[in-house]
Symmetry: C2
Subunit: 331 residues, 2 copies
């Protein structure tokens, strides 16, 4: 982490020129807990905000072992070869890596991280999901200002991190494996209803046949979900990231999706809704943090939760009591 | 609405004796917006709380036209005939009926509302979902204290009302029709993942065949959702509420569900989790109400939302600004 700080103007000029070192350092400011860094990053973002919004924001989720890193490595490389500039971000609220351990993500995406048209940023370390998600969202804006065309945001699927990613992207991809018979392979509640496209990875060799069968099963399952307002029906596609199979078709379908959304009001609507959701969520998290971290509240909370368990007080009465404690402790 | 109020002791004694007039009047207190009524109902609930928890709480949802009222009427009557005491509550945040228009719900459930073993309470009128849900949850506790064995909570599916009902019941039923080919018949996102049982209603005459086909489709679809921690796999059953077909099998399955949950820790765990969720949700709603209804906040909010749309400020920065406005207006 750089100890020296530049002026906001220096960062802004650097990002505008696509200088990765400046971009990285600006993202470090975004991720920093220091108020002075926060102020500086706020100024940078405020200035660059009108220059954001031009990328295709793509979220990627899937259980561990499904091959997310391999997919991003191969797919990102394909996009770079097609002349795109690709940035990779991640949300991992479970991450306990020491600061600056960039190696973790970079070695996972060996080819892509060496590509001059790509920028691979490791997950911000530690903090609550709300904090980690905010950092990733603001980093995304900086990558856009730096000229990246496609931003891939990976989530490891811990906690509510899929929702956080879903709420910042234009398209949300779910990677699965071919053994559809094994139920949902640990996919969490709600995920299937968020996805814009399902990819069955590792569809090669002996698994090609299985993947086709799984495709049919998932396609039928997706018919049981309500259609999106745009009328888009999430397609199910197969690929093999390891053997570079099917990736071009996927990009073609993603372009079709973007075209269809941009023809109608849906693209812009989704982004506007996301922006308001982000404002609202940020406020809610802050209010709750403020409330539950209040020493008087947390002291009383444990006691009340016990009383709820013993049917001595109803949850609603307990809530009202806690709110009273908070109000009078503040006043 | 009764203008006279009894003492808390009178209500409590009446409810303990299963006096419906007292129960109704106590629920009216729960639904009242008057602080004095709220205080009185709080006292009643606090006293009766240790006598609650003994009913089987069942939530019922489904799109309009699926036959929810007919189902509750027939199913509730069957339960009464089997010697059970049945209470029916509802959550309808869209309800704009004038106060006391009990007729609406009662005439919809003609047989059941005449049954001496049943108590049919109309939806509480008006208010936010949070408010309406709180009223229903507290009414549920009063019904339990009055000795009802089974409490059916109906939701019309407006807004997040299914989640509210799901969070207060032991079993959540989804009523569907046999035309499974018509996608999800307007079922909202997230519902399929909440259900403990799917019922395909109107499975009679020409539709019996169709219902069986739909049953197979839904059963397969439900396999694509993660299993509940208890290992319960939501079954799909067919019935005809109008012709009294299949209702006994449904009740048998519901008893099997209850037995299975109570053998493990799941029954009590679900209720404990629900109680904490209720406390937390109540606090969150109050905090947000407090925040967004603050005149300084709402004045600034509209302006900031416009600026977000014009990319003049990021949603997170807007949130921070609003929080500042609130803090300094309070201080």
């Amino acid at each position: 982490m750089p100890r020296t700080r530049h002026t906001a103007e220096t960062y802004i000029a650097g990002i505008r020129e696509g200088d990765r070192v400046m971009l990285s350092q600006a993202i470090t400011l975004v991720e920093s807990a220091r108020p002075a860094d926060r102020e500086l990053s706020n100024e940078i973002i405020r200035t660059l905000l009108p220059e954001t919004g031009n990328s295709y924001r793509v979220g990627i989720t899937g259980v561990p072992g499904v091959g997310k890193s391999t997919f991003i490595d191969a797919f990102g490389t394909l996009l770079c070869d097609a002349g795109k500039q690709v940035a990779v971000l991640a949300i991992d609220p479970s991450s306990n890596r020491t600061k600056g351990s960039i190696l973790g993500d970079k070695t996972r995406m060996e080819r892509l991280s060496m590509n001059p048209a790509a920028y691979v940023r490791p997950s911000p370390t530690g903090g609550s999901l709300g904090g980690v998600a905010r950092k990733t969202r603001e980093s995304l804006l900086l990558c856009e200002a730096a000229g990246y065309d496609i931003i891939l945001v990976e989530t490891v699927g811990v906690g509510q991190s899929e929702t956080a990613v879903h709420d910042m992207v234009d398209m949300f991809l779910l990677l699965m494996l071919a053994n559809a018979g094994d139920e949902l392979q640990g996919i969490k509640k709600g995920i299937m209803e968020m996805v814009d496209m399902v990819l069955i990875n590792k569809a090669d060799g002996n698994f090609a046949q299985k993947a086709r069968a799984a495709k049919a099963v998932y396609a039928q399952a997706l018919r049981l979900f309500p259609l999106q307002p745009s009328g888009w029906r999430p397609p199910v596609m197969t690929c093999s990231a390891l053997h570079n199979l099917g990736l071009e078709d996927i990009w073609e379908k993603m372009e079709a999706y973007r075209d269809q959304m941009q023809e109608g009001p849906y693209w812009q609507q989704r982004r506007s809704n996301q922006a308001l959701t982000w404002m609202h969520d940020t406020i809610r998290h802050q209010l709750e943090d403020m409330f539950f971290s209040h020493p008087e509240v947390s002291k009383t909370q444990a006691q009340l939760e016990t009383e709820i368990g013993e049917l001595k007080i109803s949850p609603i009465q307990a809530a009202e009591k806690l709110l009273e404690v908070w109000q009078s402790a503040k006043g």
